[in-house]
């Protein structure tokens, strides 16, 4: 059921905000493209599946990623998109909450395949180095019709694509920093117009033995058992058999050993988590005059082993997933049709499953029609999935972009979305519930956006209002008459909010100034009272701040790049106590130089420059001010 009153209220606020902003910033004068050009079939194919019509999307390319003081996807989303990241500490487990959703409501894709952990339903964003992809995109809002389970709050996609014009390029990056931080990355690109190979390797280690404040009058305490060590290797191979046929291969191998430090109220910890990840993907593409076919086969094998030597606990977890997918796209004038089918088989092993070895079979059919007109773009999509022989809700979506005035765009989207229960939700002993229903509900969003450009000024301002209700929300609880925690479809969550964004660029001759600002107002409340855990109707979800803001100011002058980022996270509730609001500011100073075909970059990151004493997770300390410096070298031989 779509509630109209809150949506109307948000619309009024949206109009008011836009009126104020547009009156005070640069008047639009330069014409803005009102027709979305399709630069190539390949890019267009991505856009259709990504279903950006009606949604706000951000994208970061390699060149930009190299300028950002971010190591992994968690850093990127937090500092660049203002996303709330729930992190247990430097390099520790990090998950996101997008638009008031849970960690399992943000879907992560690797070259178009979902890489969520099927046992937990989420992905540790700290294990996704940003340098592993050529580009990363982040689309907010429901996208279940295209991507299926978990695409409720947003979709992140990490992509690797061939550049057949490359001959040889080598990138080396060496970084040092506080708390024993050391990172070495190598990237080797090699190929010709037929074959391309990209190899990436990185090694990261850090002791993370920072000192943190306990209380007035007490000496600072040094963090212990916080060491991390990560190795990453990826290999991308592209073979353009002929102009119409292409074969791609991608390998992702990663090993991560992370100690888990004690809380502020824990004397010591000997816990550690070891992850071993192998992902393989083979993709065949046929590019016809009006057709594009893609066939993908993927194999994921992941070990997540948790140990606590102090309490003699060993918890090995392992899953294997095989994926197959076929999509076809047909282009006809301003119309584009996409249809496809995806099949997934997962098998998981865990001490928590005892003697069971759960298997899950998922099959989905999806289709989409996209119209790209002069003033209107629309997209209608639908998906039907079947899990272990049971049909899950049919999820449709409708989105539009309306270029209703020069430089003004109105975007809107209505979609139904869902999240399947995880294997732990279904099979964990005790408490797993095989009869769980998927979480599902409707999302609506509306964005008004202004893009204008006049001489050296460029302005982009937008306001998005969203509304979403998810029924059958899965919560681990103790139902009446039961004596243990179990997973149940017992509550309903209503999320709504406003997301104003402002970006201004001023580019006179030798200098470029760029300023970005964003604010999120998010109310995400339980609509059903629960006794265990103790949740009342109207309670904001834990670890979901109502207020968040971020800003960044960047100066590019000749070879110098200076950036200041600031993030504000409002007060939020944890499991045991209230977590205070906090501000964190980061600075990056980067200098680049070129010598023939060799380009070098030196940088200094000053993180938490105001030395803020804060926690993201209660009882889990975060470091004060700390530094990182490094040297990046790029060698490029191209025609």
């Amino acid at each position: 059921m779509i509630k109209t009153k809150p949506t109307l209220a948000l619309l009024i606020l949206l109009s008011a905000f836009f009126g104020i902003v547009s009156a005070n910033v640069i008047a639009q004068s330069a014409p803005v493209d009102t027709t979305v050009m399709l630069p190539s079939v390949e890019v267009n194919a991505h856009q259709t599946r990504q279903s950006v019509v009606g949604s706000m999307s951000s994208e970061w390319q390699t060149t930009l990623l190299q300028k950002l003081p971010t190591h992994n996807l968690a850093d990127l989303l937090q500092t660049q998109a203002g996303t709330y990241i729930k992190t247990y500490g430097l390099g520790s487990l990090a998950t996101s909450s997008v638009r008031g959703g849970s960690a399992g409501h943000t879907l992560v894709l690797w070259n178009g395949l979902p890489v969520q952990n099927p046992m937990l339903g989420l992905l540790d964003l700290a294990l996704l180095p940003v340098q592993s992809a050529e580009s990363i995109s982040f689309t907010k809002g429901g996208n279940g019709a295209m991507w299926g389970s978990g695409a409720i709050g947003g979709v992140i996609e990490m992509r690797n694509e061939a550049d057949f014009s490359q001959k040889l390029n080598v990138t080396s990056s060496t970084e040092f920093g506080s708390f024993g931080y050391f990172k070495q990355q190598l990237k080797l690109g090699l190929g010709n117009e037929k074959l391309q190979s990209v190899t990436r390797f990185s090694f990261l280690q850090a002791d993370n033995d920072f000192y943190y404040f306990l209380a007035d009058g007490l000496p600072e305490r040094q963090q212990t058992n916080a060491r991390i060590s990560q190795q990453f290797l990826s290999q991308d191979l592209y073979w353009k058999i002929n102009p119409r046929n292409q074969l791609d291969f991608h390998l992702w191998w990663e090993q991560s050993d992370r100690q888990i430090p004690p809380t502020k109220v824990q004397t010591r910890s000997e816990a550690h988590q070891d992850d071993l990840i192998t992902r393989l993907l083979l993709e065949y593409k046929y590019i016809g005059d009006a057709w594009l076919w893609r066939v993908k086969a993927g194999y994921f094998d992941e070990h997540i082993d948790y140990y606590d030597d102090l309490i003699l606990l060993e918890s090995p977890n392992h899953f294997q997933t095989i994926l197959g997918e076929i999509t076809g796209q047909w282009f006809h004038k301003k119309h584009e049709f996409l249809f496809g089918s995806t099949h997934t088989h997962t098998r998981a092993m865990s001490a928590g499953y005892r003697d069971q070895t759960p298997e899950e079979y998922k099959t989905a059919l999806f289709a989409s029609w996209k119209y790209t007109g002069g003033k209107w773009n629309t997209q209608i999509s639908i998906r039907q999935e079947m899990v272990d022989g049971t049909v899950v809700p049919t999820v449709p979506s409708f989105g539009f972009d309306w270029y209703f005035a020069p430089s003004l765009i109105l975007k809107g989207k209505v979609s139904r979305n869902y999240r399947l229960p995880t294997l732990n939700d279904r099979y964990w002993i005790p408490g797993g519930n095989p009869d769980l229903l998927p979480e599902s509900g409707w999302s609506e969003e509306l964005t008004i956006e202004q893009k204008s450009k006049e001489r050296a000024f460029q302005l982009n301002v937008s306001l998005t209002a969203f509304n979403r209700k998810i029924d059958n929300w899965i919560l681990w609880s103790i139902p009446e008459g039961q004596s243990y925690w179990s997973s149940n479809n017992i509550t309903r969550v209503w999320s709504r909010g406003l997301e104003p964004r402002l970006a201004v660029t001023y580019k006179p001759k030798n200098i470029a100034l760029h300023w970005r600002f964003g604010y999120d107002y998010i109310r995400s409340t339980n609509e059903v009272a629960v006794q265990h855990p103790n949740i009342a109707v109207g309670d904001q979800l834990i670890y979901t701040p109502v207020h968040q803001a971020f800003g960044a100011f960047t100066v590019d002058w000749k070879n110098l790049h200076v950036m200041y980022q600031h993030n504000f996270t409002g007060e939020t509730e944890g499991i045991n106590e209230t977590i205070d609001a906090y501000h964190v500011g980061n600075v990056r100073i980067q200098y680049s130089g070129t010598l023939s075909q060799l380009k070098g970059t030196m940088f200094l990151n000053i993180n938490n420059i105001w030395d803020a004493d804060y926690v993201v997770i209660e009882r889990r300390p975060m470091p004060g001010i700390y530094f990182q410096t490094g040297l990046n070298l790029f060698f490029n031989v191209n025609p």
Binding site: I311, S483, H532, N534
Partner: protein, 322 residues
């Protein structure tokens, strides 16, 4: 004659106030063993007390009470079911450990003990709870917090029930108390402490509730364990030990939706008791025949302990109400 009546009165008084100490030593377990209800007996009878237990075979987990003689006082975590003393009271081998998995636990009195005050019992911390409060763990805080000044506590509250009526008084025993202005006085119990329960009056069961200052949305973070030994109840020092006959009681269907059919082959009159998972008596019925039907219609879904007891034998089973 007056002298003889006086002697008779004193003898009667001594008989009436005779005390029986339940020390669990008769279980005579092999060393480092825990009796956790794996046999689905629904609990343990020692002397004239019955300690309910729910064991879930599928989950390999127990709650309620277990009998143990384990001695590990150094290993933190839930896998350690020892008392922090490393032995029972006064160096004895056996004692009982309670896991408060159902919001509270109960101890059932029978025979001569029922209907009289319980004198008291020795209580101490489990190693799991003790080390968690001392050092903190991944979920629970170190008592006192980062400064040592947090007024933390771990409290055991004991109440008596008699004929379904709760005692007006309760006995509070702090398993840990950090509420003192002088932190030097803060303590976590690490020895067997006598808890006097005579103020509770006559009882046919005792209830035990744990509360802690370290509590969050998901309930108490402090591990909900404590240990008990040498329970002193009213009764003869040498009491008749009831014989546990696991084959005596048959129940079907189990699981059940509404009714259970009980059958037994005892040669003596039997009483039937139905307890919830925390040991609270919900239903009592004298059995007139060897097979009778009992309704569970009015009870919510969950696990229940059905116990038959006569003068010489008893038998208990766990019933699942769907």
């Amino acid at each position: 004659m007056k002298f003889h009546f006086t002697l008779l009165f004193l003898a009667c008084t001594m008989f009436l106030s005779a005390q029986s100490v339940v020390d669990f030593e008769e279980f005579n377990l092999p060393s480092e063993t825990i009796l956790n209800g794996e046999d689905q007996s629904g609990g343990f009878t020692s002397g004239e007390i019955f300690l309910p237990n729910i064991y879930d075979a599928q989950f390999d987990a127990w709650a309620g009470w277990a009998i143990t003689n384990t001695t590990d006082v150094t290993t933190p975590g839930f896998t350690n079911n020892s008392a922090i003393t490393g032995s029972g009271y006064n160096g004895s081998s056996h004692y009982t450990i309670s896991f408060d998995g159902y919001a509270n636990n109960n101890m059932i009195l029978s025979g001569e003990a029922a209907g009289h005050p319980v004198s008291g019992m020795y209580v101490t911390n489990s190693t799991h709870a003790y080390l968690s409060m001392l050092d903190g763990d991944a979920f629970a805080k170190k008592f006192g917090g980062v400064t040592g000044n947090d007024p933390d506590f771990f409290l055991l509250t004991i109440k008596a029930f008699y004929n379904g009526t709760e005692s007006a008084d309760s006995v509070n025993f702090y398993l840990a108390d950090f509420r003192f202005a002088d932190n030097n006085e803060d303590y976590i119990v690490d020895e067997w402490i006598w808890v006097d329960l005579t103020s509770l009056g006559a009882a046919d069961s005792l209830s035990f509730v744990l509360t802690s200052s370290d509590v969050g949305q998901f309930g108490m973070n402090t591990p909900a364990y404590f240990c008990v030994d040498d329970v002193t109840v009213h009764g003869q020092m040498v009491s008749t030990t009831l014989i546990n006959d696991p084959d005596l009681l048959r129940i079907y269907p189990n699981p059940t939706a509404d009714f259970i059919q009980l059958s037994h082959a005892a040669d003596e009159p039997m009483d039937c008791f139905v307890y919830n998972a925390s040991g609270r008596l919900l239903h009592r019925q004298k059995l007139n025949q060897h097979s009778e039907q009992i309704s569970l219609q009015h009870l919510p879904s969950g696990n229940y302990i059905v116990r038959l007891q006569g003068e010489q034998t008893y038998s208990a089973k766990v019933v699942v109400k769907q």
